[in-house]
Symmetry: C2
Subunit: 518 residues, 2 copies
């Protein structure tokens, strides 16, 4: 057995099933190991950013790591933006990077880079494999770290992959112990009991069905408000679940909302901060006179246990009644008609999305109308842009569809962002994934136009306008999609969108709808 | 005047004319400054890797930096692969990265990353702007560093961009002094005189017309051989110039070639090393008993002065006679006919390329036949993949065409590599650039297939084969190209290719030809 086989076998033994990859020469022993060792299926992507986004999407649905395999520093660098999103989503991801043979590294060959420095910018765990003897242990430790909700990166020199070992031991990945910090729970319970205006800010895995239901128990008992972090990695939403408001993206609006509360319990969410620091704007969104407690001090992957401990400490009854404004009845918006607007698009999606759908939302400014009309649609999973690195939606949809082949995936997607990682369409076609991509073709970076107007510049100059304009030439998403094997149509009205989306959701395989916005 | 305007004015005063960018909110003051300060024209790219590749291409033709402008860590990370190629090409590039406002950085907002760590992996000069007072000096120093042949990265916090300054001074960029190391030149001259089998390995700017002619003087005087580094950033080639062999990519072949020489003069090239370290293969390609001297100790941008000093020290006559095997007569290969092969494609290009063409070659395995048949075609510039980070060709062509609007650009391009940065086609259409893209559509990563065969695996398994196969689904480059506004055709024979390439070279604007290879 060689090092590559030992690595893959350790990963397979730890339950890793898929590897998103674009390999090169220094990864060839690992490529071949997928054939000689059973258990891990490699999936080719034509750009590393697509592989990383797919691994993130897969992790958000399964809570377990996919493996990625990248070619030295340059290959890995292409994955960084979406690994940054994965890091902010606290998605478990196991990156393997092939490096030059140990004895070739100081020759500074053309592809040589400081891979360690690159890896550390997005990884909670980074190591360079030092020997074949340590390789199975290194792999198991990387997977254990990833499972705790981080990007873990193991750099494997080429010669360690091809070296042979005769007495190999496959290291197992141990389950991390879950400890409940009783004092912290007590402290949070007291805060909720004593406060006049308390809010629980949910984030990460606390936004799943179980988390929301436990939060509703706490809400029913204490009367606290519930909010979600602004960009959830994977939120369960719809009828039968508490309808939870997201902290607004605009810092002033967020500050106004949060200032209503004297006490904050953070459950899987970080203390809220402004997305950007504007002139005269705030940075942190909680003030010193607000009391807060962070349940996550026990670790992001254990937040459900913390929530349940908190509910129990409050003697909150196990109730079938769900919290606050939740609806048990299915309510879908009624689509309007005529030419498309962002709001109308949101209503069409909410009107048609099937129960158990996975909706990846990277619609940016075109997404504004959607969230508000989905609180009582049939239950679904909502995945959003956690780290702000655009180009996340299309590959994230790939990973989500591979994780849940029986669930329909809708990718609600801004055109500017989609252009970053359009190669993901090829993966969708190759794997026959059940994804409907909805491109909001407004042909501009609308968020930048808004940002410019916000600074008081109401008649931007020629260059400024050119840098937010995608209309020259106009991007034809039908051509782009067909060019990568995904059938596509272009629509201009609510009626056309309704017809094609309905059809796509009833058919297997990928489909793309370009929605022309005026 | 605000900080953004001060920065742009300093850049314009230093001769910077173009900025390739995909900006975001934290760069908006800089975006607006392109309108309020004259001199720098911003060019939008839909993916940062395309902007970086364009800056590299521009630098290779002009020897001066373009500016880039990127959005925080995630935006910059998308540029790293092509900045790595620029670094290996020793191209002058000035990166400006917007960062969060200084007072917002420790809030760890979603887009926050360790930008410094990312920047240092590709930059010879990195600094974070600390104050508006230092900003013009910082900018001038960055440009001065870039001009010496490196990627220089200046990180500009958002609040420094929008701050106002009343008594600004625009710092000028000083010309670096050129010192000739007389002892080094003497040493090199002696080595060439005394050696029985000497070779001069040319690289970087020594491969330009002037450098090659000076090298030919030295060759005529001393009888030394001339070689080029394997992947030239910008080589002048064709009739009237010494026909110079490139050190082979395969390390064994390279070692065999280099072992013929007892003395090596490095002129703008690094001491040759293996591209990859294979099992039982070499790392460094020069041995301890070979004598070598590196003329570049005086700096890569001054190599022409070193070469001339060396020629003078050798009393090499200024002769009209060019070296060795050079032809003054134009010789073009005669195209064959029928279905396309890499060799036949190379012959068609060499047969048709106009005088003064710029040929960007990222054809990888499909490029094999081309170089050898171009030694006596009308003089042209050849740009290759310096750092091995694929996805360089299409954006490099953008930058080359912008630098030299009067020269036709041919991008000879592998399909797998082209998929990495296909968004560059949109820039080609938007700017109306005179670029003909030739896609070698073999629908596979042939270089990996060769690598697998080379290790003795002659019947690779299902997964291994799947990871080198791009045929399922087949990529339709005509659709992709049209989708981004570049007209395109698909060809299968030499005759069709000849007709369409000839037509494209006679018409302005971009055109793409997909060449289907069996």
């Amino acid at each position: 057995m060689n090092g590559a086989e030992l690595m893959v076998q350790t990963a397979a033994a730890a339950g890793i099933e898929v590897c998103f990859t674009n390999p090169g020469t220094t990864e060839l022993p690992l490529v071949e190991a997928f054939d000689t060792v059973e258990g891990v299926r490699p999936v080719l992507g034509l750009f590393e950013g697509c592989c990383a986004g797919a691994a993130d999407g897969y992790a958000r649905l399964t809570d377990k790591p996919a493996m990625t395999l990248f070619h030295l520093g340059p290959g890995f660098s292409n994955a960084i933006a979406n690994l940054h999103n994965a890091r902010r989503a606290r998605s478990p991801v196991l990156n393997i990077i092939g490096d030059h043979a140990t004895w070739h590294q100081d020759a500074d060959a053309p592809l040589t880079m400081d891979i360690n420095a690159l890896a550390r910018t997005v990884s909670g765990w980074t190591r360079t494999g030092a020997s074949i003897e340590a390789l199975s242990r290194d792999t198991a430790q990387a997977i254990a770290a990833a499972r705790e909700g981080c990007v873990a990166t193991l750099i494997m020199p080429h010669d360690i992959q091809w070296s042979e070992i005769s007495h190999q031991v496959i290291h197992r990945v141990e389950q991390a112990a879950t400890l409940v910090d009783v004092d912290l729970i007590k402290h949070a319970a007291n805060l909720l009991r004593q406060s006049e205006a308390a809010v629980m800010v949910l984030g990460g895995r606390a936004l799943r069905q179980e988390g929301l239901k436990t939060a509703a128990r706490i809400q029913n008992k204490t009367g606290c408000a519930l909010l979600s972090e602004t960009f959830p990695a994977h939120m369960a939403r719809g009828a039968g679940l508490p309808a939870i408001e997201r902290i607004p993206y605009a810092p002033t609006a967020a500050l106004n909302l949060l200032s209503q509360y004297d006490s904050i319990v953070l459950a899987g969410a970080k203390a809220p901060v402004a997305f950007f620091g504007y002139r005269n704007g705030p940075s942190r969104l909680l003030t010193a006179d607000q009391k807060s407690v962070d349940l996550e001090m026990m670790g992001s992957t254990h937040i459900q246990i913390s929530l349940e401990s908190l509910a129990d400490a409050l003697d909150a009854p196990q109730s079938s009644k769900i919290g606050g404004n939740a609806s048990t009845r299915i309510i879908r918006p009624k689509p309007q008609s005529g030419s498309l607007t962002p709001k109308k698009i949101g209503a069409v999606i909410a009107a048609l999305q099937p129960e158990n759908a996975i909706v990846v939302e990277e619609a940016v400014t075109s997404g504004v109308g959607y969230y508000g009309v989905t609180s009582a649609v049939p239950p679904f999973s909502l995945l959003t842009l956690t780290g702000g690195a655009i180009g996340q939606g299309m590959p994230c949809a790939v990973g989500a569809a591979m994780a849940c082949p029986d669930r329909p995936v809708i990718d609600f997607q801004a055109d500017g962002s989609a252009m970053y990682t359009l190669q993901a369409l090829w993966m969708q076609a190759r794997e026959g994934l059940n994804i409907t991509t909805l491109i909001c073709a407004n042909q501009r970076y609308r968020i930048l136009e808004a940002g410019i107007a916000q600074t008081g510049n109401l008649s931007p100059g020629v260059y400024t306008r050119s840098l937010t304009d995608l209309s020259n030439p106009s991007i034809d998403w039908v051509d782009l999609s067909k060019g990568m094997g995904v059938p596509a149509v272009s629509v201009e009205t609510v009626e056309e969108l309704t017809r094609h989306l309905g059809k796509s959701l009833n058919e297997p395989g990928p489909f793309l709808i370009e929605m022309r916005l005026g």
